[in-house]
């Protein structure tokens, strides 16, 4: 083969390979592909370790560094104090973890379906979407379309699984859709993500009673998310001069920036796919 021919044939072959991968993956994304599982399997222990280091550094930063400003003559006392502070910080961290786990346990008791605790491993690499990776997968009984919650409220749903990991689409993503209603007035709508710690309750009719501070609850329609879970709080309501619907911005109940542990709702997902625009868009 001449070098000129090779120059064209190799790129064409690579593009054909990419296209065949696309067509192979278009049919089903229920399970992660071999390659995805491999990448996740290799990188997740490192990711977990890095998360641990980041948590440790931020704890030291919060509990230790910004306190350093004492007089020079108190060096010895300061060192002692710092050591004690580090120790207190360790206890505080353990206490906070205890509180978080206790809250999760209480929440677990309050919900009828069995729940599987999982830890966050990583976020979406591209940054365009709002997905996370958790450390429980097919071997733990996790399947696609299971709901993921935390003690604060709804987190998202499983969109892909490997043996030991699962990919979760957060309710913050524009492709997520949760059938929900206002707890006080029972006004219904579909909650979609706006990307940045904010959601939009769409299709709420103009004449419905919605006020800032109202709590938004999952309706259970579609069978993916359990009914009655707290989704968020109404942050802003805009009723335009025209149009059928009002714009309702919702602040999620879950602080996604500090998400560490989640619970997977272990229940069989619905057999039939839900209607477009309800809970199974991507």
């Amino acid at each position: 083969m001449t070098s000129q021919a090779r120059k064209f044939i190799i790129p064409i072959l690579i593009f054909l390979l990419a296209l065949s991968l696309i067509s192979a993956n278009l049919h089903s994304r229920e399970n992660m592909s071999f390659f995805e599982s491999l990448v996740v399997g290799i990188t997740s222990p490192v990711q977990k370790a890095v998360w641990g280091v980041i948590g440790g550094i931020s704890n030291i930063w919060r509990g230790y560094f910004y306190l350093v400003g004492l007089e020079k003559e108190n060096q010895v006392l300061k060192r002692e104090l710092q050591e004690l502070k580090l120790e207190v910080n360790r206890y505080r961290e353990a206490h906070l973890a205890n509180e978080r786990l206790r809250a999760l346990l209480n929440f677990k008791k309050s919900i009828a379906t069995p729940l599987l605790p999982a830890q966050l491993v990583a976020f979406d690499p591209a940054g365009w979407f709002q997905t996370i990776l958790i450390d429980k997968g097919r071997n733990d009984g996790v399947v696609r379309d299971m709901a993921v919650v935390s003690a604060e409220g709804l987190v998202g749903r499983v969109i892909g699984v490997s043996n030991h990991h699962a990919k979760v689409l957060l309710i913050l993503d524009g492709n997520s859709a949760v059938d929900a209603y206002i707890q006080r007035s029972r006004a219904r709508g579909v909650l979609v993500g706006l990307g940045l710690e904010l959601c939009l309750l769409k299709y709420v009719q103009r004449n419905e009673d919605v006020q800032v501070g109202d709590q938004v609850i999952s309706s259970g329609m579609g069978g993916v998310f359990p009914k009655g879970l707290l989704v968020g709080t109404v942050k802003e309501v805009v009723r335009g001069s025209s149009g059928l619907f009002q714009r309702v911005e919702v602040e999620p109940a879950v602080n996604f920036g500090r998400l560490e542990e989640v619970l997977v709702v272990i229940q069989s997902p619905p057999e039939e796919p839900a209607m477009a625009g309800t809970q199974k868009r991507p």
Binding site: R6, I22, N25, M32, L194
Partner: protein, 172 residues
């Protein structure tokens, strides 16, 4: 082989940066696509087939965690790698201005590619404003910081080739 291992390590580092460090420390608008910088560096510095193979690999890695059906990042990166390797004869690659411009352009292509793919899958962003803000922020930050990263990668290449020459001369 050494080059491949080096870029594999860099890719894993970039992946960890994207999945752990960025979410912890940076807002989405300020996240540079390190894989894109790697793809462009490979396209500028290596022969086309090598650059395309590594672009395909990096695209597959990037696809992990995306809520999309199909492998679309490989296609986006392959297109960008092909474009860069075709244009490298006509670009003044030593000029940081050209690099900034080209990095910005490639970020725009990547963003539009993602938007188009989402559109084809009947998915997307709830509001176009969010996507445009994200895209604009990324174009600016990539154009500003990307050339520095490219310079760093060029330096790494120089060290690597110097190391290889040193080892070979020692062996001789």
């Amino acid at each position: 082989m050494r080059t491949f291992i080096l870029y594999l390590v860099l890719a894993i580092g970039a992946y960890l940066c994207h999945t752990v460090l960025y979410p912890a420390f940076l807002v989405p608008e300020l996240r540079i696509d390190l894989f894109l910088v790697l793809v462009l560096h490979l396209s500028f510095s290596y022969e086309r087939s090598k650059a395309l193979i590594l672009a395909l690999f990096l695209g597959l890695v990037m696809d992990v965690g995306l809520p999309l059906r199909g492998c679309f990042y490989p296609l986006i990166y392959l297109a960008i790698a092909l474009l860069a390797s075709m244009l490298r004869q006509n670009l003044n690659l030593h000029s940081r201005w050209y690099q900034a411009l080209f990095l910005g352009l490639c970020t725009l292509i990547e963003g539009l590619g993602v938007r188009m793919i989402l559109g084809l899958q009947d998915a997307g962003f709830a509001e176009a404003g969010y996507f445009l803000r994200l895209l604009a922020g990324r174009i600016i930050i990539t154009a500003l910081v990307g050339p520095l990263l490219l310079a760093g990668l060029e330096r790494v290449d120089q060290y690597l080739s110097a190391f290889i020459v040193h080892r070979e001369s020692q062996e001789v």
